[in-house]
Amino acid sequence: MRIIVPIKQVPETSKVKMDPETGTMVRKGLASIVNPLDLYAIETALRVREREGGKVTVITMGPPNATFALREALAMGCDEAILLSDRQFAGADTWATSYVLAKAIQKLGEFDLILCGERATDGDTGQVGPGIASWMDLPLATYVSKIRDVSEDGVRIERMVEEGIEVLWSPLPLVLTVIKEVNPPRLPTLRQKLNSLTADIIIWGPADIDADPENLGLHGSPTRVVKIQEPQVVRKAEMVYVKQVEDAGVAAHRVVAFLKERGLL
């Protein structure tokens, strides 16, 4: 089984701080990590390989330091890592990003499964996985919560939707985007971590993947960011303070009175 896992290196968004003066993100001291939701895709790939045999290739598009994310994936047990890095790739939206990833995957040759995380925690779009499927005209299942069975004939999966679970079957190859329910990601062992530090990483540019320069980076992207601002969410709250036990009863009565005023009781 030949498995490809496209991943993304992202800033650790849970620790992102905004500069109140400028309204921009404070990038200083912000660690780069593997998109946490991609770890579930890597784990799924490793489990399929453990059962069926084969090879897992992890691939990312990003700046040269995105090798960090690839090494993390190698440490978890992936066999091969490819970095797509070039100035021409910079500024790509999801359309242009999925184009480059699809071209690189085509270049890799035969494969059975492309496994993606549900979305990246920085962009939060979830559009690149489906985009890769579309560029390559492949079957696609998103929000995959379980892989029921895999064989050379095909794969049967469960997909979590609003009203319940869908069971789908597809022949290989195809694209799956997985959610947290699929399985908890493993932690690399110390030895794997050490080995990953010296592992070879293949680096490709536009010419290596026969990419059309018209489709690359900001130039090839249909969308443009025109403005960035801090979110504004303001209501004027009536505040009640419970400083000592006696205040609690007063506050609770105020809550109930509020519910009645608003016609909620």
Partner: protein, 346 residues
């Protein structure tokens, strides 16, 4: 990306059909979004319905809720959502009729079919928009959405490529009032090529949610807990309050990450967007990621020990205090109110 040839007019919304073969309420929310844009743009609002056994009379409901035109494609392959075929059919319609804007729900369907179609049609696509507007100068669609984990709001446009596509979160708009006097045209599109209805992926089975719980998005009152709940056992006090209110329990991401509650109850950017009549946030500090999922609730009460918690900035009523003292007390008072009420109506 260059401007494609063609007229590229009209605002489109993608309707969704539920398992009972009714239109999903999301279809009508999208018309509210689309109507505002179409009026501003002076163009028609069209709703697209891909279906098989949609019940009689449903299509007319799209007209009474704001659509000028309804494009319908009926085919057995469209009974269940399969990205390959749904995307092919929608791409065909887009190439044929050339809409300027296509809006879908940020549902599991919309978030899957739209990126597939965006590649096939060379369109710009923005996910999870919380605001849509027309740029008065250029007529471009301005799409605003949270990014970087909700820490910023980014406004995005598609200057040249067409269509301009966007998904918007379910429950982020109220459907327009039903207007029985509205006139509209229902067009059954029958020239979709047969190969569009083929897919390698096969739909095998649907398993309904066995928990029988009310889906969080449908609850009219939500009592939510976060980090301040400390452990899973403590959620029983929120369940009691939710029960007496006839509502449901929601949670912040922390509570899910800690394993206290299931993901299906998560409110926020990486969970669900809710817009209930009442949202009571208990021990939730109010990270922007959470706020974007609940700030459109009609009434918000926040209970938190920290007077500086950002949750108070979106609340109508804030209680600075210990939730373990406050929640049971409030529940008890409501119980008394309800029993008084019961006696009166005896």
């Amino acid at each position: 990306m260059k401007k494609p040839e063609g007229e590229w007019k009209d605002i489109w919304t993608l309707a969704e059909v539920n398992r009972q073969n009714h239109l999903h309420s999301l279809s009508f929310e999208l018309l509210a979004w689309g109507r505002a844009l179409a009026d501003q743009r002076g163009s028609r609002l069209c709703s697209v319905v891909l279906c098989h056994n949609l019940l009689e009379g449903e299509l007319e409901e799209l007209v009474t809720h704001g659509a000028d035109v309804v494009y319908v494609v009926k085919h057995p392959q469209l009974e269940n959502f399969v990205p390959e075929s749904d995307a092919r059919v929608l791409s065909f319609l887009i190439k044929k009729y050339q809409p300027e804007v296509v809006i879908a729900g940020a549902s599991t369907t919309g978030r899957t079919v739209m990126p597939y179609v965006a590649i096939k049609t060379d369109a710009g696509l923005t996910a999870d928009c919380t605001e849509l507007a027309i740029d008065a100068e250029t007529g471009n669609l301005l799409q605003t959405r949270p990014a970087i984990g909700g820490n910023i709001m980014a406004t995005i446009k598609t200057p040249d490529a067409r269509p301009q596509m966007a998904t918007v979160r379910p429950k982020s708009a109220h459907p327009l009032e039903r207007d029985l006097t509205r006139q509209g045209e229902i067009i059954h599109v029958t020239d979709v090529p047969a190969e569009a209805f083929t897919a390698k992926m096969q739909f095998e089975q649907f398993i309904g949610d066995a928990t029988n719980e009310m889906p969080l998005e449908d609850a009219d009152m939500i009592v939510s807990g976060g980090k301040g709940m400390v452990n899973s056992q403590n959620f029983v006090i929120l369940e009691q309050l939710a029960h007496i209110l006839g509502g449901a329990v929601g949670v912040s991401r922390t509570a899910v990450d800690q394993g206290w509650r299931p993901y299906s109850q998560q409110v926020g950017l990486s969970g669900k967007t809710v817009a209930p009549s009442l949202y009571i946030a208990c021990g939730i500090s109010g990270a922007v990621q959470h706020l974007v999922g609940m700030k459109t609730a009609d009434n918000i009460i926040a209970i938190n020990i920290d007077p500086k918690a950002p949750i108070f900035e979106v609340a109508d009523l804030g209680v600075v205090g210990d939730l373990f003292m406050m929640v049971p007390l409030i529940t008890e008072l409501i119980r008394q109110e309800k029993s008084k009420e019961g006696q009166r109506h005896g």
